[in-house]
């Protein structure tokens, strides 16, 4: 049974092909070793076969990453069904983009997707977005993507889903060096290696990535992507004390620097400087097995993220802009799994301390969070499981949160499976929503205060000395911020007619409440506004996703995916239905009543997204090839007629079709050459997809040296 399933699952379990050029054949061990592509740990925090989990999941294996020629995390994620990489604004490559390359899941924006590295949260969100281009994929064993809310296990941010980057190395002793050169003088070098004996396992990865940047719009003096370089280093060491005890020390360090040039009130570049990112993670994990049935995991995390943008006027050399953002994160967490008959009980808890210090806050801010979670996975019958989970998060600076989840997995027979889940997600108010203390002296002097920095008493004091002219009624509505919350529902049917073939349809609905927005709370004496944050908006996302994997011959794999998505701001939709909303069909045209069919939902969402990927791996000759197409229909980008949504052609970005291809050849046992072209159709949009360059090519050479096993 297990053997059969293994054959069926995924595209990339052609283990022998993989091992031929990079891994020792003998490393393919038991299925539940956490390394195999058909095992998922993120869904339940315990190792589960992909066929046995109750929530929608995608596992992207190393083989797919490699065959697609991906370098950074955003490269590979944008090719997955239902995932959309949102655009940065040109300085994203070192994490400093105004928005960065974030990921949208089930229509929830990038702020609501949790990103984990080996099961531990990554920090360094800028404007709510974790920039994915900070993460090299050369050291990634696989990526697990869990869709739908998962706060019952992971707490804040796991509203749209969880992406877990797993860097677990394969055992064995080997060294690999690789080099790539491509368009825009893109250069990428890496060296990685692993070494292991009975007790110890060591893995390292070093990477340098750089680009001269590119220009999509020749009418602007600035480059679309400014030149950058960055370094990633990872060192992972595992020591087995005995059969029951294992300690892993996982360290990661990233340094990136990117040029940043602007033409301010000028047709020529007149302001310039750099953005610099430093981030590190130190993560010791102790696994201890009390018995076959009781397993314990203790994890400590210390991580830091520091971004500085420093711009000078090129003429006067005077400082034009300086922004520093420093975040630190410490967490201790323990998890214990008890196997009690046909129940698997998972109990855990932890404590987190976070600090943040930026030029836009008054002082260094600290947050203390403690959490506890419990989950029971009850195997009712061999083919039916029920999962119930609950997590409690308590924070010093905002309201606490209880997040439940229920999931159901029913394998009707060898071919058909039904999965359904309902769960809660939440996102804690982020630092700027709590602590921002910002007065814009450059514009009309407006100011924004985070909810923790805001007080009526302070407004009244300022009013008494004449700084504030009027306190608006809305000011009295400002109170302790609640987390943004969601309820998600998923129902999926899977069909596996034969080995290597899989079809799946999933319907989903996410209801999001308490979305945080900022509102004017007072008027300054110069007429400008004072803003603060409040929980106001409600929204939903719903849709259907389908995926198809077909292994139609020994050497060919086809996979395709489609997502239909509907979203709405409930307040705006309600007003549209009530006939209270107007719009213009073009700039300056008379206003007309908006109908339900004019309402396009939340900005930056495509109703249709599709992909098709064809992979060929001809083992006898050593040739491999891939052809991948990614489509998204038009999406709203801006509201020009004040009704809060896109309803006319110039408020949308046009749909896009991206076609990418690679050809690779393995030479002998050690060498691999790859040539690839991305964006063959040269579809670009400088304004709304600045992170997508025009047609570009690359070529990669990799050498793997396998040390002899004694």
């Amino acid at each position: 049974m297990m053997q059969r399933m293994r054959e069926r699952i995924g595209l990339w379990t052609l283990a022998c092909l993989l091992s031929q050029f990079s891994f020792a054949q003998k490393t393919k061990v038991d299925t539940l070793d956490g390394r195999s592509d058909d095992v998922v740990i993120t869904a339940t925090r315990t190792e589960r076969k992909l066929t046995n989990i109750a929530v929608p999941a995608i596992v992207v294996g190393q083989k797919q990453i490699l065959q697609s020629g991906s370098l950074r995390l955003n490269d590979i994620l944008q090719e997955q069904t239902g995932l959309f990489v949102t655009s940065g604004t040109g300085s994203g490559a070192v994490g400093g983009g105004v928005f960065g390359n974030g990921i949208q899941l089930q229509g929830l924006s990038a702020d609501y997707t949790m990103i984990l590295l080996d099961g531990e949260p990554l920090i360094g969100r800028q404007g709510g977005v974790m920039d994915l281009s900070r993460f090299a994929v050369g050291n990634i064993r696989k990526i697990e993507i869990i869709k739908g809310p998962a706060s019952s296990l992971y707490g804040s941010e796991a509203m749209g889903g969880v992406i877990n980057i797993i860097t677990e190395p394969l055992s064995g002793k080997q060294t690999q060096v690789g080099a790539r050169y491509g368009s825009f003088a893109t250069q990428d070098y890496h060296i990685s290696g692993s070494s292991a004996n009975e007790k110890n396992q060591l893995y390292y990865f070093l990477n340098r990535n750089s680009s001269a940047g590119y220009e999509l719009d020749k009418n602007t003096p600035e480059k679309t992507l400014d030149p950058f370089y960055n370094y990633t280093a990872q060192l992972k060491y595992t020591h087995k004390f005995n059969r029951n005890t294992r300690l892993t020390l996982n360290n990661r360090y990233f340094y990136g620097k990117q040029e940043s040039f602007y033409a301010i009130n000028s047709r020529e570049i007149n302001v310039g400087g750099h953005g610099t990112t430093n981030d590190f993670t130190i993560n010791p994990v102790l696994h201890y097995q009390f018995s076959e049935k009781i397993k314990n995991r203790l994890s400590l995390v210390a991580s830091g993220f520091h971004f500085v943008q420093d711009l000078d006027s090129l003429n006067s050399k005077a400082n034009y802009y300086y922004d520093s953002f420093r975040q630190n994160f410490w967490r201790a967490e323990n998890q214990t799994d008890f196997q009690l008959g046909n129940h698997l009980l998972t109990v855990g808890g932890g404590y987190t301390l976070q600090s943040v210090l930026t030029t836009r806050y008054r002082e260094q801010k600290f947050q203390h969070i403690w959490h506890a979670f419990v989950q029971d996975e009850w195997k009712l019958k061999e083919n039916i499981s029920l999962i119930a989970g609950l997590r409690y998060d308590n924070n010093t600076d905002f309201a606490s949160r209880l997040s439940p989840k229920f999931a159901f997995h029913w394998q009707l027979n060898e071919k058909w499976t039904i999965n359904s889940s309902i769960g809660a997600g939440f996102k804690a108010p982020d630092f700027r929503q709590l602590y921002l203390s910002f007065v814009n002296n450059a514009a009309d002097g407006y100011s924004i205060f985070g909810a923790s920095e805001f007080s009526i008493a302070e407004l009244q004091r300022q009013q008494s000395i004449g700084l504030i002219a009027q306190i608006l009624p809305a000011a009295f509505a400002i109170q302790e911020l609640q987390p943004e919350i969601s309820q998600g529902f998923n129902f999926a049917i899977q069909f596996r007619p034969k080995a290597g073939w899989k079809a799946e349809v999933n319907v989903f609905r996410n209801d999001i409440n308490n979305l945080i927005n900022f509102i004017p709370v007072a008027t300054n004496n110069n007429g400008s506004s004072v803003f603060s944050y409040i929980n106001v908006n409600r929204a939903f996302t719903q849709g259907l996703e389908g995926s198809l994997d077909i292994k139609f011959s020994k050497y060919w794999n086809l996979s395709a995916g489609y997502q239909f998505l509907q979203t709405a701001d409930k307040q705006i939709l309600g007003a549209v239905k009530a006939g209270e909303v107007f719009g213009r069909d073009r700039e300056g045209a008379p206003a007309r009543l908006m109908r339900r069919s004019d309402y396009s939902g939340l900005l930056n969402r495509s109703a249709h997204m599709a992909n098709a990927r064809l992979f060929w791996d001809h083992t006898p000759s050593g040739w491999m090839a891939s052809l991948r197409a990614i489509y998204r229909s038009r999406w709203g980008v801006i509201d020009r007629d004040g009704n809060g949504f896109a309803n006319r052609p110039d408020e949308f970005a046009e749909g896009m079709l991206h076609v990418n291809m690679t050809v690779s050849k393995r030479i002998k046992e050690n060498w691999m050459v790859q040539f690839g072209v991305n964006n063959l159709l040269n579809q670009t949009n400088a304004m709304f997809m600045p992170n997508m360059p025009g047609t570009n090519w690359f070529t990669t050479l990799t050498y793997t040296f396998k040390h002899k096993n004694k």
Partner: protein, 194 residues
């Protein structure tokens, strides 16, 4: 957002059309016109003045007359009465498209009670987008004025675009010194019907 451009070439054309409403009970047809109105784009300094009877800009030297009905500075609007002027102007905003407003209400006109307590509240007529840092006039909001001389006018703000001193549109990061408004209005010199 260093690369956001305002696509609005068609806005450059000054469209002035005169049409007349032929209604039986309407002795004098309202004059309907469109006009570009370039105003001070700073949060401080003088307001630019507009008069419906004139059908356009009124010089600031006439600020103590009844020739102007409202004034604009950036996204602030003042009316010629109360704390802002010597006229008898008043304004109200109706949540209906321009064409659907056929009669000016008899009452309900607000005026400026102080320099900061203005008759027109920002949230009544525009939406500020914190991402694009632009403000868009809300479609379907019609200003109805009682003019400084107790006549009636209705107006909609079609566009509000960042511009330089010459009225040429500018894109970020260039800071606009002017805001270029495109207005559509109807002036009725006799009665309250448009």
């Amino acid at each position: 957002m260093k690369r956001v451009r305002v696509i609005g070439a068609m806005m450059m054309a000054v469209v002035i059309g005169f049409t007349s409403c032929q209604k039986d009970d309407q002795p004098t047809p309202a004059v309907v016109a469109s006009n570009d109105f370039l105003v001070n784009g700073a949060a401080v300094g003088s307001f630019d003045l507009f008069g419906f009877e004139v059908g356009g800009r009124v010089p600031n030297t006439d600020s103590v007359t009844n020739r102007w009905d409202f004034g604009m500075r950036f996204e602030r609007i003042i009316v010629n009465s109360g704390a802002s002027g010597r006229g008898n102007a008043g304004v109200q905003i109706i949540n209906q498209p321009f064409d659907a407003v056929t009669t000016a209400p008899e009452t309900g006109y607000a005026f400026d009670t102080s320099a900061t307590q203005l008759a027109v509240k920002p949230e009544q007529w525009y939406l500020y987008n914190s991402v694009t840092r632009s403000f868009s006039p809300i479609a379907g909001r019609t200003f109805v004025f009682r003019t400084a001389n107790n006549k009636f006018a209705k107006m909609e703000i079609l566009t509000a675009l960042p511009a330089d001193d010459n009225g040429n549109l500018v894109t970020p990061p260039t800071r606009p010194t002017r805001i270029k408004y495109q207005l559509r209005f109807a002036f009725q010199s006799n009665g309250r019907n448009f």
